[in-house]
């Protein structure tokens, strides 16, 4: 699949709006004093998540992040599933054992997520190795932020991926922060991926708020991997528009910087792109309205649904 156009672009825009609507709804619930367990806003990063994941096939896998709603939606996981996991309602994937931090849909290429950052890299290499051993043309895509990106297993996995020419793409989400630490405090020059150019593989820096740039870069990396060209790294420059998590007041974020990034918000930006391409404003309005309504209805339905019932013997037990 090359970079999307026409109706495909509209579909991606709809996903972005849907993801943001979910995000906004969660922010609203929090503001109203409700519990939104383990919600980490992904607002501002939708172009990067969706632009990349949408380039994949169902048989490709993703390893997503703790702000993974957009990734999951783009991979085909229904919002109702994500919300059910989040609010511990029936209809989720893990029966309240992993919540929204451990959504999995192996059938859609979502094997799950690790919480102590690092394992994801070898895991993605293993998923890619499986494709390679089976001789199919699947690709694994591994997302990671500044935190995981400073962990050694990334080097180990990349070395294996280059050595074995694995079909895996690593996507660094450079969003300015790791909790309250600036990217510049964690990586020389504030860049997470330049070091990997030393492997002689493609390392691409993209404007992570530019849906088209992201999808082109990902499409290139993924087709390369699919065709046996081996691994590559993409670093998307974006920004975390909301605090790390609900208890964070984000007082450390400079107001002007934040403001500047709100102005680069990928959603209005993508709307402008679509309008410039000739998409009618009312068609876009309509898409937005439908997406927002769908999200509102889904959340209401999920929150009105019964909680997961659990049998402690079965529900939370280990092997023994």
């Amino acid at each position: 699949m090359g970079a999307p156009s026409g109706d495909d672009l509209l579909r991606l825009y709809e996903l972005m709006v849907e993801s943001r609507a979910f995000d906004d709804a969660c922010m609203d619930l929090l503001a109203a004093g409700e519990e939104v367990p383990h919600f980490h806003s992904g607002a501002g990063q939708e172009a990067l998540s969706i632009g990349s994941v949408a380039m994949l096939r169902p048989t490709d896998e993703i390893v997503y992040t703790h702000r993974g709603y957009a990734h999951l939606l783009a991979k085909g996981v229904p919002l109702a599933t994500i919300a059910a996991d989040m609010f511990y309602r029936r209809g989720g994937t893990n029966g309240a054992r992993g919540g929204v931090m451990h959504v999995s849909r192996p059938d859609l290429g979502v094997p799950g997520r690790e919480g102590v950052f690092g394992t994801r890299f070898g895991l993605a290499a293993g998923l890619a190795l499986a494709h390679s051993l089976r001789g199919d043309d699947g690709v694994a895509v591994c997302f990671y932020g500044e935190a995981a990106g400073a962990r050694g297993p990334l080097y180990e996995a990349l070395n294996m991926a280059v050595l074995w020419n694995l079909p895996v793409v690593f996507v660094a989400e450079n969003n300015g922060w790791s909790v309250n630490s600036r990217t510049e405090w964690l990586f020389p020059g504030g860049r997470m991926s330049t070091v990997w150019s030393g492997f002689g593989i493609p390392v691409t820096e993209v404007d992570g708020n530019d849906l088209t740039a992201v999808s082109s870069a990902t499409a290139r990396a993924v087709s390369r991997a699919r065709a046996g060209g081996g691994p590559s790294v993409i670093e998307g420059l974006t920004y975390r528009l909301h605090p790390h998590i609900w208890w964070d007041d984000a007082s450390y974020v400079p107001a002007r910087e934040l403001q500047a990034w709100w102005e680069k918000d990928p959603i209005p930006r993508q709307r402008r792109v679509l309008e410039e391409e000739g998409m009618a404003a009312d068609r876009l309005d309509d898409v937005e309205r439908r997406a927002r309504n769908r999200v509102a209805e889904t959340i209401e339905a999920v929150r009105g649904a019964p909680f997961v019932e659990w049998d402690l013997e079965v529900g939370v037990e280990g092997v023994r």
Partner: protein
């Protein structure tokens, strides 16, 4: 996070922060390293330290646990006294090799058994409500089997600063494990004389004759509630808070059981392979041929579910302790 203006009421969190600050002020060779420490660390225990001591004493690190713990060893070998913060103690498993194989063994392996190696590793642990299996575990059992390592678990506003002092003073590799719920414990901020809290010394919290109860960390609070209820049932409990998991003050427990003949360990960790197993074993070994009643109340061998309500049903509580204690006291002769 609880920075109150009213300085008379303090939390354990604040008391640890000020103790750490005092220690750093007293010794220039003490440095703090870890993730987000510049802004106070994962739990606010480093709050204000960056502003006070600057970037060469409070070292913000990348999320590179292996690199950080290796660097802490290097700093200690160079005459510094590193205090390393782990974002959540569950993540210590990512540096288990550095801790168990390198830091704990270094001096012995290199022929300096009496030497100091002042690496203090600290961070939050324990279950609150729905943080899930990777941010809730009680970590002392995973490191209990490691020769050369000290493990300390503060439990009250009174003992937390004293234990941190003692851990730092010992200049030995030490895991200092701060329970998330213990952070919130409050008390009078009036400076009290710090009780002795040397490595390997337990505190007898309450004297009693019917049953010995052992509990530490957050479980001490549950145990105190249990003791109050048991008192209403006419059962007097001797409550021991070991404070130090390694070295462990078995003698105090054994002496108490010599008197009570009954032992209950209340532990937050998974039951199998927990610290309670060793305590029961030591007590059993100490009284060969004597009829004992001893048991543990702990978490079943299951992962912490994310859903707080599910989790609440499997975490050990005061009520579980009361139940088990009454069974021990009443049904002792059933077997």
């Amino acid at each position: 996070m609880s920075t109150t203006v009213e300085r008379r009421v303090r939390t354990v969190r604040e008391s640890l922060a000020s103790t750490l600050g005092e220690a750093m002020a007293a010794d220039e060779s003490m440095v703090l390293l870890g993730e987000t420490v510049r802004a106070g660390g994962a739990q606010g225990v480093a709050r204000g330290l960056y502003e006070r001591f600057g970037p060469s004493r409070v070292i913000e690190t990348p999320v590179s646990e292996n690199g950080i713990f290796g660097a802490a060893l290097g700093l200690a070998l160079s005459g510094f006294r590193p205090v390393v913060e782990i974002y959540s103690a569950d993540f210590l498993l990512a540096v288990a090799n550095e801790i168990v194989n390198d830091i704990a063994k270094w001096r012995i392996q290199h022929g300096q058994p009496g030497a100091q190696l002042p690496v203090l590793i600290r961070g939050c642990m324990g279950a609150t409500a729905g943080l899930g299996p990777e941010h809730s575990q009680s970590m002392e059992p995973f490191f209990f089997h490691s020769p050369g390592l000290q493990i300390c678990v503060p439990s009250t506003l009174e003992n937390a600063p004293a234990l941190l002092d003692a851990a730092l003073e010992s200049r030995q590799p030490t895991l200092f494990l701060e329970h998330r719920k213990v952070y919130e414990l409050q008390g009078s901020g009036t400076p009290e004389p710090r009780p002795a809290a040397e490595p390997g010394t337990a505190e007898v919290v309450r004297v009693g004759t019917d049953l010995t109860m052992v509990a530490w960390g957050w479980m001490r609070t549950e145990a105190e509630a249990a003791c109050a209820t048991l008192a209403e049932h006419g059962v007097t409990v001797e409550l021991v808070d070991p404070r130090w998991i390694r070295p462990f003050d078995y003698a105090t427990v054994v002496n108490s059981v010599a008197k009570t003949g009954r032992l209950l360990v209340l532990e937050e960790a998974f039951i199998t392979g927990g610290i309670g197993a060793e305590i029961l074993a030591r007590v059993t070994e100490a009284f060969p041929g004597r009829a004992l009643v001893a048991t543990r109340v702990a978490m079943p061998d299951v992962i912490h579910p994310y859903h707080a309500e599910m989790e609440r049903q499997i975490l050990p509580t005061a009520a579980d302790a009361v139940h088990a204690a009454l069974r021990l006291v009443r049904n002792q002769d059933e077997s």
